[in-house]
């Protein structure tokens, strides 16, 4: 399909609004249920990262494609590096660094690119029907990961 919709919204502290926009976009491109919420949370965390640790300004760009949905989060601060994405376990007692850890475990693929405008974190979600190889210790993308005890 050509002429796909593309979502572009500025980084802003209005996280609920950004999540809603991302959910609409993700749903339109075939994500649903837990995966749609994973997308919303991953983008939420990436935006927080820009606000709290980056340049506090940037752009969220989401687009659908044949494999699912990809969201690029531009941080004009541009301080994000591959080292930040390294597989360093978080301390569940409340240390910092949950954001990127969560992103890495929610997304099917995470990319980082340095551009003239800043660093661009790429959050890639494969469609529900796509065969996906799980990454990380989260054990992939269970459709009902809700635990009850």
């Amino acid at each position: 399909m050509t002429g796909e919709f593309e979502l572009r919204c500025p980084i802003s502290p209005d996280l609920g609004y950004i999540r809603d926009l991302v959910r609409i976009h993700g749903r339109h491109h075939g994500l649903s249920g837990d995966r749609l919420e994973d997308l919303a949370l991953a983008v939420n965390e990436a935006v927080i990262n820009v606000l709290d640790h980056g340049g506090q300004a940037g752009l969220v760009t989401a687009r659908g494609h044949e494999h699912g949905v990809s969201v690029e989060v531009l941080d004009v601060g541009g301080r994000l590096s591959d080292a930040h994405l390294a597989d360093v376990p978080v301390d569940p007692r409340g240390g910092q660094g949950f954001g990127l850890w969560v992103i890495r475990h929610l997304c099917d693929e995470v990319t980082l690119e340095q551009t003239g405008l800043g660093s661009v974190l790429g959050l890639h979600f494969h469609g529900d029907s796509a065969a996906v190889i799980p990454i990380g210790r989260s054990g992939g993308r269970p459709h009902r990961s809700t635990r009850t005890a």
Binding site: D14, L41, E45, F98, S138
Partner: protein, 135 residues
């Protein structure tokens, strides 16, 4: 990325979010039970911290009823974990009950559900705390 782009403020929605954070509490023997409903994120996590400062009785366990929690992000989780540390320092505990969906997934991914007691339902958490108090 197309044409050169300059940062600018996002347009705000005309109406308030429909899933606003709602906080309620009740005091039971030895525990403060706090129900967190709606969406808990960076925009309102400080509100929860202030609320806890107000309603958490010193020496009480804290039971969080997350049954109606629709969304939880890392900022909200930090507030919960800060309270867990405060409880541990007092010799009590923090208990997370009723989380499902995306909030439950965040607790799992971060390993918090292996570190803090997690319950399917709030009644289960209350029963457990009562048993702890009886020793």
């Amino acid at each position: 990325m197309g044409a050169p782009w300059q940062p600018q403020p996002a347009p705000r929605p005309a109406k308030a979010p429909s899933r606003a954070l709602t906080l309620t509490h009740q005091h039971l023997p030895g525990m403060s039970v706090v129900a967190v409903a709606g969406e808990l994120d960076r925009t309102n996590s400080a509100k929860l911290a202030e609320y806890l400062d107000r309603v958490h009785r010193p020496g009480d366990h804290v039971v969080f009823d997350l049954t109606e929690l629709a969304f939880l992000d890392s900022s909200g989780l930090h507030v919960l974990l800060a309270r867990a540390r405060a409880c541990a320092a007092e010799g009590t505990g923090m208990h997370l009950a009723g989380a499902s969906g995306a909030p439950a997934r965040l607790l799992t991914i971060t390993g918090v559900d292996g570190h803090l007691p997690v319950y399917a339902a709030v009644q289960e958490a209350i029963t457990t705390v009562l048993a702890i108090r009886r020793g």
